[in-house]
Each structure stands twice: as structure tokens, then as C-alpha cells.
Symmetry: C2
Subunit: 750 residues, 2 copies
């Protein structure tokens, strides 16, 4: 028997709620004492202990609080001091907030206690990136714990043979998709050992170790554990579109850090589109001078980012999108466009969103000369072996209307524009091969004449009128390697579940093993029509952590409540890497509130989500690239956090309409009535709050009716309720929708 | 008489306070109706109308609220709806939140109403920076108002002759310190006109216009006004030390934006010191390769930053600190150091703070060859005509112990190390002149042999054992031009008042007019021993706005309550430019709280300040450059906002011990008792809160005693009270001090 741990205190801030509070606690707990000066003269009744996961002994406490405080205006925050009931109280596996979840984990009793003498030692033959990686690990651990580690830098092999953390690494890892990324992590009470074939695996192990950090009230420790881990898919990517809205170097760097924390290994960098060309070009400076509004990466920026990614185990795949999505290129070089009788004004940087006609001329030798020279300059900036040439959404309108191109098509016996595009794309294959790059393109590049070496990037699905997964399966059956992005379009503002359950390997598939092996993995796509450097992090994170887990972890890891629980902690930890999703939300809300208190706005934002599936910018013309993206919809995110909790409350209430469950639901309704009042107040000095008021009023009106019904003070007027409910389904206000609509509907139907 | 304006609503959020509330209101107000559902069954008593500035008719309302709400847990936020009593209700001059305050401002009745058709037109002959400047102005205004302006970019002269905002600019402004930066801004109801000699003045005018933006509940407008404005001093600088802690490009850029918003025109960039060399060097790559830990600016980064600054009217003055503060240079080139028998290990990048001995060898021709080649490479990166060579804090220890240098000193008849240093510095003058740069250095470079063309940077004062201002006066009397930094050391963590009242032009000075003209202006210095990219903004802003005002505005503008009022709004507005002082504070508090609610930590941080005058890092060895700067002291800032308000409350109470004033003071005491309880609760799951608890407990204990005394429930026990008070003066906990100590002392003594 080990001695009792220090008291663990569980703090419950009730705020305005009067109803029962659900507590997810990570530890095995016993209520020991209640210390609450604010409640003298009041009373607390512990109503029930619900739920009990037998393996992990995680309790869910439901507390019904009936409070009669002495002082009417005292804020009634109080403590339940809880101590462990088990002498060897141990962090349980289910309580860990690991993402992506490791393939194998075995926790045992005991801890490794952290102190300022903690040191790292590296043995074996790793790439130098492991030294900088271990140094960053030390800095992050020191920043979290404030321990002032003595070791400032990890600089060479076997620097501190007696260090508590030993990293053994067999060989120099090669960045890409075919390296051994596995690792073993063994935490004992006096020593931590990481074994990995390549430093890429060792770097992953350090991220796992950081996620394992636990604390008491005054110390930090790692739980004793043995973990062996490896990725399920070899391509675990994130694409960032730096063309629609330029994303400066610091945005890219912090997202690379976050990717590395989620063990992702491919950064796909969309560098040109109708709205901009983002690469400094020495030989063709017109590209960045005329087609970037001054927003581009210098070649040294790019080299630095490629190195930065490399140090974090990430390959960078550049994309230059051709022959469509080429307005920016044609703004600089109209002579290689497909429009007849062009002049200097024929093409201009696009300010709207959508699919546009400007297309490179596949019949013009100058087109290929230009592209060849571009590749000669751009390819050497990147270390990886892949180059993405786009190839999507070319509708061929300018080809159809250009007789010269039609003639070329006939002469070359190219029956369709699709075949003409393949002819075009095939010209690029040797240009890239010259630089040892494999061509990759969106699925439109695939026709029977496309090289089987090309990697086909599958992106179409139900939004494009074909069944989800069909495009991927077709690709593989046609003999191509493929990467899945359909289902991983994080710019659609859909809930995380849809991405999380989107497995690149179809369930019950009839694919052969060889065909399955052609599915390399997947990639989240962050198109940037409606995101700026201020908001992009909040669209990528924490949701992309769920995609990273889908691509790394075992296919059986699909529990949504575990996902949501772990994402909350991961979301918090991502801030450490500079990710701005939480802090910039507060900034936007302060701005919208006109420097007033933001709590009511924050509460409302936690049940609102930006309009989905591109309906916010219908037709692509409501927002220009220079339009303000500093509005309420920009502060809101998918997976509105209170909406999820409300849905749980409704389900529980419909399952059992006891008093606690009723109070839980009505607590939300009362809160929203209150939020509406506060928003009205704030709006008197904040014009940007005005557009929210109709939606807030609808929710408040419905909440008032539902309260009367639930409290049995009024009969149900179905017509009225349904009318109010449908007003809550409005998509007409402030570019947001109420994320609680479906739960309200369920509550009403139930 | 104009029609009545829409109701202006003044929202008072009482929060936890029960005492009287002081309202600073910008408008002439009359209480029209009180609409407060929460107060039915309660009562409001308007106690008094205090204060009345005859010119501006700004009222201060003191409301004593006696509330008996119906619902015990209802949060009692309520509105006083107030409408104007004057038909021509107008924003008054004193209510404007302009910084720096303009030289002349005349508000008249009426508004310019803003709508989405708002456009900008430029005439005259400005530098192209005015186009990008006007475009940024449009984006910021659009971001604040959400109006979706039609005009995306301002690209050429006379693009929209009928635009509502006309900017007339006589000529291309030359960046530097001798340009005409004046402007006239005339806002009429249907047109806004900016007239400026140079585009630098026009850019300043656009910042003033942005600060003038007002709003009703659902619209935005500018008040009608005529402003003519010009700077008092020609050198209005901010120095950022990028050597002790590297500050990435995005940190520099956002600070340049903030400087421009405050009409500052010199960015002094401290690029080398004992802790690092931060410039990529093509001919001497060992400098950045061996002496930067990989953290340096590429030459293209520097060129981009210089251009970015130029577009905002700011000159960049680089600093390479020699012959002392040279450990980084000597890490790369030990052969030009002053130590005898050096080898590769003689010098290594410094990890501590302080004054170190490594010094360039002034007797070695190689030293001058290296410096000459460095200047040949670095000078062309900068457009301005000044180059700072440091020259400070060379104690000459390594010179004294090197016989070769002693011999050189004798041979050259240099009596002191100070004269030897002047010999050294004078060798640099022609190296810089070759590139058309004037040499500037810290005041130590001044001896009788120093060129009178050099600019002497005055920094010493009472901390260095000489009277404040003496060094500046000496410099001028010696015939040098000078820039003042003594009194503007923002890294000392002193209150803003000390910087604000630090006038470069001594009061009642005996200096002649010629001598006065030698005082170019001043410069805030942000030394970075204890700041990281995460915290640097919170050390610079909003305080540097006060320094900017001292350097721009009339010397009669010294009212501290106006300063504090305006700084609150400026602080909020700085966020728009990417300044992270508010959002990163929340991030650090979330981290310290271990992902719990941060409100109690925030409350405590608002009365705590980091230890002052370098006492946080006593001896320079408590923190290394890699130590965690993510602690509570890093989240705290000088000018703790609640401390200032508490001090006002105490003064008011001591002046008149009526019930309202008593409740105001006791409200704070009760809050701190509550904060202490909450911190104890939080600390049970947050080791980083533990170090705050002793200080929080001291304040809570003293508050409890003071409450009993004020409520006349207990006699004064002077010994006990003084003991508790002195515990509140402790500097031993968490690297912070209680900023309310002096006010508490005053309260007890009074």
C-alpha cells in the first residue's frame, strides 16, 4: 500500500446555474468534506452517483444543489474537497488525454516524479533534429511546470549518460511517408526510456510524454506506463490554402508545431490560386509583383519553413494549381491564357470566391516553358519527393471558346477537355521528375492516359453529387495511389464527428490487399476563402486533432464521448504552441462588444456555429477577399461547446424526467433568457451585436415557453412552439445558426 | 436646433459590487428612465451629482444603489437609459480618447455618418506608402464597423474624385527625423478632408481619424471637428532588444503598427549583445551560425521590416553593440577579443543577464577590419541615416589585464579606458559615413575627442547614481545632439506616470535655444532579459502610448486622470493591430490555472505587478535566457488596473467617510478575501498557483481586520495591523508585489 496522495480538490463553479451539475472527473473520488463558507445557512443535498465505467472506476457525480445562502449577492462558488479512496490511487488509462490514441498502452502503479534536475540524454545515431526536438520538449515542459530545469539545450550524443530521460534512436530518419515512425516509451519510477528506429519516432514519443504529464496540488509527475505506438496510415496531412487569404510565416510555423503535436507528417501548402500567387520568383518576378498584393513568401521564408517542418518530422508538399484556378498566374502572364484577344486587362486577381474561367492554354508551347521554369525555381526549395499541381475544377469554358485550342484538341485526337487536361498534365510529369518529384493532383487529373505514378487526391463526395468514398475506391481500382480529403474538408464548418468517423479505409470493403495498400492516408483541407490569420487556427484546431487520430490510431478508436473529453484538454494544450483559437476568440468578442464585458457574448457564441457548407458566402460574392472577417460568425466555431452539453442534458431528461434532469435542462433555458437580456443591454453601445438579437430573441422566446410547459404552468400550444422552434432554425442572422436547434427539436418531440 | 439623437444607453454592470459606482461618461446626460426588470421590488436612489467640468459639461454620477432584488440569484445587471438633454448633444473634446493628444482640436456640432459607400481619394504627390496606408485604414475601419466597404484598395491618384474622404498631400515624405509631419483634419457632415505637406503627416491624420470613430447603438460616425496637429519632438522612438530574447518578424511588425498608431517615427533595433547576434551575415556567416542559437533575421527579413516600417512612416535605426556587450561576436570571432591566450572555448553565448567582460580588442587591426566588413554588409539593409554602435557598459576589465592593450594605450597617449574607447569608436565614424550613416551611441561614447556629429543617447539617471536629466544636459552643453531614454526604461516595470511626466525638455531650464534644439526627442527602451515574444507586447503597451504622447503633444498635456482614461481605450484598440497584451495574459493565466476558470487569477493579477528595477532577476543569474517566462509575474504588468481604482477609492474615503465611500472601499476588501478563497481552491489542481498564496493570504488577512475596524466591530490594534500591512509589502513571493500596498498604508494612516 502506498501512502495517500495529497487531497485532490474538485472545484465547482456554479455561476448562474441553479440546476444539477455534471462532473467528469479523472480520478477515483470519495467525498470527504465540504468546505463552503458561502453556504452557511444553506443546504447541500447530494442526489445521486450515476454511471460507473467498471474498468476505469470513473464516476460521474450528479449533484442537486438546493441553496439558501445567507448573503443574497455572494457569488456561490464552493469546493468539494475530495480525497482518493484507493491507497494506490492511480491515473487510469481512460482518464488520459492522449491524442492520437496510442496503439498499445499499459499503465502500472507508480509515478515518475519530475524535478528541476530532470535531464535528457540521447544515444544512437539520430538526425540532428532530435537535439532541437528534445530542447523544445524541455522548454515546453519547463514552461508548463515552472521548474527551471538546469539543462538549457540538448546538443550532442550522450551528453548526460545519467539523465532520467534516455532516448535511444537507431538511425537518421528520412522525412517523407515511408519512414519507420514507431516508438516505445517506458516510464519507470526513476527512469524514462524512449526507443525508436528513427528520430521521427522519437519525436512522436516526446509528444506522447508531454501529453502524459499529470500533477498533484504542488508537483508534477508522469504515470508509470509502457507504450508502443506506430501510425496506421503513412500520409497524415493538413493542407493550408495561403492563396485566398495569405497566411504569414508565423501562422504556418505555429500550425506545423500543432501538427507535430498530433503526429501529423505532411503539410500540403496551397500556394497559388485565382486570388493570389504566393511565392517570390527570381526569374519571373511579375508573378509575385503583380499577383500577390504584396503578400508572398520569400524563397528564404519557404526554405526556413521547410527546415522548420523537417525539424518536426513533417514533409512539405507545395501546390501550384494548374491549368484552372490560374487567374493569378495569368494576371502576370496573360499570354499563356486561353482567352482569345487578351490584353493587359484580360486577367486580374480575383476578389470573390468560386470557380472561375481563367485557364492556362494547353496548346501554347510558352505555357510549358513558363511552367518548366517555375518548377525549376520552386522544386529545389522543397526537400520532399511530391509536388501537387492542383488540376481541379477546370470547366474548360475558355478552351471551348478558343478555336486555336479546339484545333489543337482535334490534331492531337483528344476527344474531351478532360483528355486535353490529361495531355497538359502529362507534360508536367517529366518537368517534376527532373527534380525527383512525383506529381500529385486533385482527382480530376485522372483519366486513362494519366501516369500510374501520379498520386490522386480524392476530394469529391456527396456535396459534389457522388457517394462518399466512391471517388477513393475508383482511384484505387484504377491503379493509383491515393490520399483522401473528402470528409476532411474542415472549411465546411461541419461537426467534428463527421470528420472523425470518416475512415479512409472503407468498412467491409471489397478492395484487395494490394488495392488497400494504395490508400496512403488522408488530409484535412483548410481552404481560406473565409479565414484570416486571426481566425484560421480556430477553424483548424482542435478539430484536426480528431482527423490526426483517425489517421494514426487503430480503426476501433471511435468513441465520441472520449473524443470530446480529450479534445477539451488538447485544445487547451495547443495554446502552448502558439495556436490562437482561444485567445483570438476573446479578442474578436471584445471588438464586437465595443470593449464591454464579453461574458454574455461568449455564452451566446458557445451555442452558435458559422453557417455550413459554404452557405455563408453563397455565390462567392457576399464576401470579397478584403471584406471584414471580424464578425460574430468569425468568433464562433463548429462544435459549439455548450450545444454538445445541452444535447446530453436533453437526452438524459428524455430518458428519465426526474427532478435533477429537469433542472439540468431548465438551467440552460433560463441561462439563454438571461443571455438575451444581457445582449440587448450590450447592444445599446455595440452596433455589431444588433444582428444577433433576432436569433437570441427567438431562443429566449422559445425557452420561456418551454419553461412554462416543463414547469407545468401552461398547456402545450403545438403551433406556437413549432413556430418559435422554426425561428430558432433561421440561417438569416449574423451568418450563424443555433447549434442547439436539433436538441430543442428533440426535447419538444420527446 | 437639431433633432434629438437616438437614445444613448449607458450600461452599468455592477457585478459583485454593492457600493456606489462611479461613472465617467462621455456625454452630457440626463436620466430619462430607468428600465431594470431585475430591480422590481427593489429601489434605486440617486445620491449625488459630483463634479462638473464647465467647459465640457462632463458629469460624474455617483449612484448609491440600495437593491432588494426579487430573485436572490439573478445577476443584477441593469440599464440606465439616458438620453441627451441638449438637442445638439455632441461628443465633447474631453471625452475623446485621442493619443497622442493633438496640438489643436476644435469640435463643432454635427456628425459625419459612416456607411458602406464610404471611399477614400488621394490627390497631390505623395509617396506610394500613402496608398497602402489608406488601404490599411479602410480595412481597419471596415473590421471595426463591419460595414463591408465597397472600396477594396486605394491604388492611384484621384481614383474616386467624389469620395467622402479626400486626402491632399503636397509631396513625397522622406523617412527620418527632419520631415514635416504636420496635418490638418477637417470633418464636416458630408466630407472629410486631410491636408498634409508630406504623406507622413497624412498617415498620422488617418490614425487620428480612426481614434475619432464614435457609435450609437446601431451606427458609426465621426464628430465634426477641425484638427491641426504636429509633433513637439522629431525623434519619437521605441527600442526593442532582439538579442537577449529573439523577437520574430511578426512581433516586430505588429509593434511597428502600434508605433505608427501612436505617431512614433523611430524604431531602434538592438541586434547584438552578449546573448546573441541576430543578423544573417553572408560574408561572416559564423556570426549567425555560431552566435544566435538559430534565432536570427535573414537579410531579406530585415529589408522587409525596413520597408514595412517605411510604409508606416518609421525609420529603423539598427544597433550593433561594441566594444562591450560583445560576447556573441567573440563567440564567432574570439581572435578579436581582449582576453589573452584565447581559444575556441574562451567565449560562449551568455545565458545570464548583466554586464560581462568580453570586449573587442581596440588595439587589433583585425577588429576594425571585421567591423568595417560587417558595416559594409549591414548598412545597406537600412534606409535611414543613423547607425547605433552601442558603446555602453564597457568596464574595460579585459583591457586592463591585457599587456598588449595597455602598451597600445600608452603608445597612443590614451590616459583612460574611456579615452581608449573613444579612440575605438572614432575608427567607426568613417566606416559608417561611407554608407551615409551618422554614428549614434549610448552616453558612454562621449569624451572630449568624440566627433560632435555623433548623437549621444542619454540613458543614465538615478538608478546609475546621477541626478535625472543631468546626463542629458551635459550632453547638450558639450555640443552634441541627443535623444533621451533615461526615464523611458519600460523594462524597469515602473508605473506609467513616471514615464509620462519625464519631459526631455527640462522645466525651468537654463539651456539656450540652440542647446534646446539639440534635444531631438526620446525613446522608450524595451530590454528583453525577461520578456519573450509571448509577453513583450504587455511590457511595451499600452504604456508606450504615454511616452509617445510626451514626445508628440504640447508640454501642458499632463493630466494623469485623462491619461489613464484614454489609455484604457487605446489599450483595447491596440488589439486590432495584433498587439497581444490582453489575449496573451489570458493564455498565461489559463496555463497557470491548469485549464481551470481564470477569473480569480485575473482579479489577483489586476492588483499585482512584477518586481521592479531588475529586482526580479537579482544578479542576473536567477533567470537564464532559456528559463520559463510563463509564470504569474509574466502575466502581471505594471499599472495594475484595479490598484489604480482602489487608490482613488481610498482617497475619496479619506476625504469624506460617508457611507458610499465606505462601501466603495470595503467592496475591494471583501473582493480580496473572496479572491484568496478562490485561489486556494484553484491551487489544489494548479501547482503554479501555490507561490501566490502567501501574498494573497496576507492581503486577505489584512482586509478582514480592516473590515472589522471600518465597520466599527473592533478596535484598532496598531501592532497587528502594521504587521499585516508589512506582510503585504513582501517581495518574496512569485516575483510580484502587491500594487495596493501604498493605498492600504494610506488607508491605515488616514
Amino acid at each position: 500500500m502506498k501512502p495517500l496522495k495529497p487531497l485532490n480538490a474538485l472545484i465547482i463553479e456554479l455561476g448562474l446555474k441553479k440546476g444539477p451539475i455534471f462532473i467528469n472527473t479523472a480520478k477515483t473520488l470519495n467525498i470527504n468534506s465540504i468546505n463552503c463558507p458561502a453556504l452557511k445557512g444553506g443546504a447541500i443535498k447530494i442526489q445521486a452517483l450515476l454511471g460507473n465505467s467498471p474498468k476505469s472506476i470513473v464516476f460521474r457525480l450528479a449533484l442537486l444543489l438546493q441553496i439558501k445562502p445567507k448573503e443574497p449577492f455572494m457569488k456561490y462558488i464552493f469546493i468539494l474537497l475530495l480525497s482518493s479512496i484507493l491507497a494506490n490511487a492511480q491515473v487510469k488509462t481512460d482518464a488520459l488525454n492522449l491524442m492520437p490514441w496510442p496503439q498499445n498502452i499499459n499503465l502500472t502503479d507508480g509515478d515518475f516524479a519530475l524535478n528541476k534536475n530532470f535531464k535528457v540524454n540521447i544515444t544512437g545515431n539520430p538526425n540532428p533534429r532530435l537535439f532541437t526536438g528534445a530542447t523544445r520538449f524541455l522548454r515546453r515542459l519547463d514552461g508548463r511546470t515552472g521548474l527551471f530545469f538546469e539543462q538549457g539545450f540538448v546538443t550532442k550524443i550522450n551528453e548526460f549518460p545519467s539523465a532520467q530521460l534516455q532516448i535511444n534512436c537507431v538511425r537518421n530518419g528520412k522525412i517523407g511517408i515511408n519512414e519507420d515512425e514507431s516508438y516505445q516509451l517506458d516510464i519507470k519510477s526513476d527512469k524514462i526510456t524512449i526507443n525508436a528506429t528513427s528520430d521521427l519516432g522519437a519525436i512522436h514519443a516526446l509528444e506522447t510524454l508531454l501529453q502524459l504529464l499529470q500533477n498533484t496540488n504542488n508537483s508534477y509527475y508522469f504515470p508509470m506506463a509502457v507504450i508502443s505506438d506506430f501510425p496506421r496510415f503513412k500520409w497524415r496531412g493538413l493542407m493550408i490554402d495561403a492563396a485566398r487569404h495569405f497566411q504569414p510565416v508565423d501562422v504556418i510555423k505555429r500550425n506545423l508545431d500543432a501538427m507535430a503535436a498530433m503526429k501529423m507528417n505532411v503539410f500540403h501548402w496551397h500556394l497559388s490560386d485565382d486570388q493570389g500567387w504566393r511565392i517570390e520568383m527570381k526569374k519571373h518576378p511579375k508573378l509575385h509583383q503583380l499577383a500577390s498584393d504584396g503578400d508572398y513568401y520569400t524563397q528564404q521564408d519557404i526554405k526556413n519553413i521547410v527546415k522548420y517542418a523537417d525539424e518536426r518530422g513533417i514533409m512539405v508538399v507545395p501546390e501550384i494549381d494548374v491549368p484552372g484556378h490560374a487567374t493569378a498566374i495569368l494576371t502576370a502572364y496573360p499570354e499563356v491564357g486561353s482567352k482569345i484577344n487578351f490584353d493587359k486587362t484580360t486577367y486580374a486577381i480575383e476578389r470573390n470566391s468560386g470557380i472561375f474561367t481563367p485557364t492556362l492554354d494547353p496548346s501554347n508551347p510558352k505555357t510549358y516553358q513558363l511552367l518548366s521554369e517555375i518548377f525549376d525555381e520552386v522544386c529545389p526549395l522543397f526537400l520532399g519527393n511530391y509536388f501537387h499541381i492542383g488540376g481541379d475544377e477546370n470547366e474548360g469554358k475558355d478552351w471551348d471558346s478558343n478555336p486555336k485550342i479546339q484545333k489543337f484538341k482535334k490534331e492531337n485526337k483528344l476527344g474531351t477537355n478532360h483528355e486535353l487536361q490529361t495531355y497538359f498534365t502529362m507534360q508536367l510529369v517529366p518537368m517534376l521528375k527532373k527534380h525527383n518529384k512525383t506529381l500529385m493532383g486533385w482527382e480530376e487529373i485522372m483519366t486513362k492516359n494519366m501516369s500510374k505514378e501520379a498520386i490522386i487526391h480524392s476530394w469529391k463526395g456527396t456535396n459534389e453529387g457522388i457517394p462518399a468514398g466512391q471517388s477513393l475506391t475508383n482511384t484505387v481500382k484504377n491503379g493509383y495511389k491515393t490520399v483522401l480529403s473528402n470528409g476532411f474538408y474542415i472549411d465546411l464548418m461541419l461537426g467534428v464527428e463527421s470528420h472523425y468517423l470518416n475512415d479512409p479505409m472503407p468498412k467491409n470493403t471489397t478492395l484487395s490487399d494490394e488495392e488497400k495498400a494504395q490508400i496512403l492516408g488522408g488530409e484535412a483541407t483548410m481552404w481560406s476563402e473565409l479565414v484570416t490569420p486571426t481566425t484560421i487556427d480556430s477553424r483548424i484546431w482542435p478539430r484536426t486533432a480528431a482527423i490526426a487520430e483517425r489517421l494514426w490510431s487503430n480503426d476501433t478508436i471511435t468513441d465520441l464521448s472520449s473524443l470530446h473529453k480529450r479534445m477539451k484538454t488538447i485544445s487547451f494544450q495547443l495554446e502552448e504552441l502558439g495556436i490562437t483559437h482561444l485567445r483570438n476568440k476573446d479578442f474578436l468578442l471584445r471588438k464586437i462588444s465595443n470593449n464591454q464585458k464579453i461574458s454574455a457574448l461568449e455564452d451566446f457564441s458557445n451555442i452558435c456555429e458559422p453557417l455550413k457548407i459554404y452557405s455563408r458566402n453563397s455565390g462567392g460574392t457576399e464576401y470579397q477577399t478584403y471584406s471584414p472577417l471580424t464578425l460574430f460568425a468569425d468568433a464562433c466555431t463548429p462544435d459549439a461547446i455548450d450545444a454538445l452539453d445541452f444535447d446530453l442534458a436533453v437526452s438524459r431528461y428524455l430518458d428519465n424526467k426526474n427532478l435533477e434532469n429537469q433542472i439540468l435542462v431548465t438551467g440552460y433555458l433560463k441561462k439563454w433568457i438571461n443571455t438575451n437580456e444581457k445582449l440587448i443591454e450590450l447592444s445599446s453601445n455595440a452596433p455589431l451585436i444588433q444582428p444577433l438579437l433576432p436569433l437570441s430573441k427567438s431562443l429566449s422566446d422559445l425557452s420561456q415557453q418551454l419553461l412554462l410547459i416543463i414547469d407545468k404552468k401552461q398547456e402545450v400550444n403545438a403551433a406556437l412552439i413549432n413556430d418559435l422552434l422554426e425561428q430558432c432554425n433561421s440561417k438569416k442572422h449574423a451568418d450563424v445558426e443555433l447549434a442547439v436547434y436539433n436538441s430543442l427539436k428533440k426535447l419538444i418531440s420527446g
